[in-house]
């Protein structure tokens, strides 16, 4: 109980720090998946090399798809952001607290914090912007007591809009971090 109150205090401080533009110290993250980089071959790789007399030939591959990693709490598990901003808005607090409690009660769950942007600008730069949003949410959940090992901050940039359209209403829905179980 005391720990949780401390967490909320810390989150409040964090929210304040974010909205006042004060830079937070970098949180060092241990790389637990480094070995994955040396994985020898992808399971989807075509096994038989294609040979052809034609010099223009390109072999075709079908990509795979990953599954879910836990059960999400009821309610909306999305946090929204303002344009060109990484600051958590006041309405993010309820979403973060609910997910923090859920993750602490289910320590076997692992979530991906998926950062997203609106469609304006380059794909790679938007990927980096979405990452910044996802990492803001990761730090907030850590301050609420969630183990960092349960959290992975990743970004989809502008690749997966939740609303179609090129107006501010659609843009606002797309600037988000989704907490995915």
């Amino acid at each position: 109980m005391i720990k949780r109150s401390l967490g909320i205090l810390a989150l409040t401080a964090f929210l304040t720090a974010c909205s006042s533009g004060v830079k937070l110290n970098e949180v060092p993250v241990e790389d637990k998946n480094a070995s994955a980089a040396t994985a020898p071959a992808d399971p989807n790789a075509a096994s038989s090399p294609v040979s052809s007399a034609a010099q223009s030939n390109v072999a075709s591959v079908v990509g795979g798809r990953a599954g879910a990693q836990g059960v999400a709490p009821a309610g909306v598990n999305v946090v929204y952001f303002e344009y060109d901003s990484f600051a958590l808005l006041p309405e993010a607090r309820a979403v973060l607290e609910r997910n923090a409690a859920h993750l602490q009660a289910n320590k076997q769950f692992k979530v991906q914090l998926e950062g997203h942007t609106d469609e304006r600008g380059g794909r790679e730069y938007n990927l980096a912007l979405g990452q910044k949003r996802a990492e803001t949410v990761r730090r907030a959940l850590t301050l609420l007591g969630v183990s960092d090992a349960q959290l992975e901050a990743v970004s989809f940039g502008k690749e997966k809009p939740s609303a179609q359209g090129a107006d501010e209403a659609a843009f606002a829905k797309n600037r988000r971090v989704e907490i995915k179980y």
Partner: protein, 433 residues
């Protein structure tokens, strides 16, 4: 492909052929063309060239003369003299006087002959119409499936003979399409034709990057619900995970010797630049700051890395030594400059600037520091140079649809590339083959 009407542009051409050098804008009206070339600007010097239909090509799977004509026009260096109705091959004795009357300075004629084993022999001859002299013969034998490639090689040969510079038509372009909820990575000829799918996925694919020899692509795929860098061998389809560290893995580009990739990783927090050894998969951190560093790429000699950083408060282009030392800022005007690509000859940098809410391809002359926007569109992305540094390919939005365009460096000659249906993006121009 639907023909886009630019009827007003035809007017000056039809009224007066000599007006060509001064006309403001025109579009090729060649009926067979599957692309549109748009020419704008004053003072263009283009070589007017006559191209005869190749003997035997009407029964071949590809029309060599049509591919040759389209390549030469798209380069901006040539104007194909239309509607000559020439009946010639490489052995003919052309009537140079009549060709001179039609304002042609050069002539190509040839043949496509099917051999007993199913392959084709392509022969061509180039003439200087002004002097009436032969300028050379071209001959190769190819599989029927490589007839397009052969036509692009012939275009490279004609281009080099007449301009003294190496052509880049026989190269390939990688790009991504999105149709409903399916993503495909395509490898196409430099004109966008002959596309073959290298990868299809239900999740996004971005940032294809060619290996220096053109045999492999690195790219970012989201098929495991996060951005992961793969390296993919095109001829076999064999691929492996190159970077799947905790967090996001993106923006791959190759070292000139193919031994490592530059990439943006967030494994240590923030988006930072790393060098990944291709053999071992080990990543070495190159930049250390609390902001965003991304879109790294080596200079041709491997001594410099160009990249984007928001360390100064807004995204700008920087360069540094390959070991991460000696960072200097490259772009200073505007508050959003991203996606840098250096020309292979090292003289130019192309990138995207946001100007008044519009995203435009810029070309910066690195020796003078002069930059200019070269497009009239407003949602340009990801420019890259042809290996001869003479053309840029980029993604944009035309009439509400994603499209790929090529442009000369001065922006005067642009062509919309042929492509798949659906949205088309993320072009990357491959190396010489």
């Amino acid at each position: 492909m639907k023909h886009i009407s630019f009827s007003t542009f035809f007017f000056p051409l039809k009224r007066n052929l000599s007006a060509l050098l001064l006309c403001l804008s025109l579009v090729s009206n060649l009926a067979w063309a599957q692309f549109k070339v748009e020419v704008s600007g004053v003072g263009l010097t283009q070589v007017p060239i006559a191209i005869a239909s190749f003997k035997g090509e009407e029964t071949a799977p590809q029309k060599t003369s049509a591919i040759l004509s389209a390549d030469l026009e798209r380069s901006g260096q040539f104007r194909v003299v239309p509607n000559l109705g020439l009946s010639l091959d490489e052995l003919s004795r052309p009537d140079h006087a009549t060709l001179r009357q039609k304002n042609a300075d050069a002539l190509v004629a040839g043949s496509a002959t099917r051999l007993a084993d199913g392959r084709y022999e392509i022969r061509a001859r180039l003439w200087d119409v002004v002097s009436g002299q032969e300028r050379g013969d071209y001959r190769e034998t190819v599989a029927a499936a490589d007839l397009r490639l052969s036509a692009h090689r012939l275009a490279d040969w004609v281009y080099e003979r007449l301009t003294g510079e190496k052509g880049a038509f026989a190269t390939r372009i990688a790009y991504i399409t999105k149709t409903s909820n399916k993503y495909n990575l395509w490898i196409a000829d430099s004109d966008g034709e002959n596309a073959q799918s290298a990868l299809s996925s239900a999740e996004p694919i971005i940032s294809p990057a060619w290996s220096p020899k053109g045999t492999q692509l690195a790219y970012v795929s989201f098929e495991s619900r996060k951005p992961v860098i793969y390296v993919h061998e095109l001829a076999t389809g064999k691929r492996r995970v190159m970077a799947n560290f905790r967090g996001s893995n993106s923006a791959p580009s190759w070292s000139p010797d193919s031994s490592s990739l530059l990439a943006t990783l967030s494994r240590d927090g923030g988006s930072q630049l790393y060098q990944i050894d291709v053999a071992s998969g080990e990543a070495k951190r190159l930049t250390q700051n609390s902001g965003i560093d991304t879109e790294p790429s080596y200079s041709q000699d491997g001594s410099k890395i160009y990249f984007v950083s928001d360390r100064g408060g807004s995204p700008q282009i920087y360069r540094m030594n390959a070991n991460g030392s000696g960072v200097e800022r490259v772009t200073f005007s505007g508050s959003y400059n991203i996606s840098p690509a250096l020309s292979p000859d090292g003289r130019w940098l192309t990138y995207i600037s946001r100007v008044g809410g519009q995203f435009k391809v810029q070309v910066l002359n690195l020796s003078t520091g002069q930059a200019s926007a070269i497009t009239e569109t407003s949602a340009d992305e990801r420019p890259s140079f042809a290996p001869n540094s003479k053309l840029i390919v980029y993604a944009t939005v035309l009439q509400g649809r994603e499209a790929l365009m090529t442009s000369t460096l001065d922006g005067k000659i642009k062509a919309k590339l042929a492509g798949q249906s659906g949205d088309i993006r993320e072009p990357a121009w491959g190396p010489y083959r």
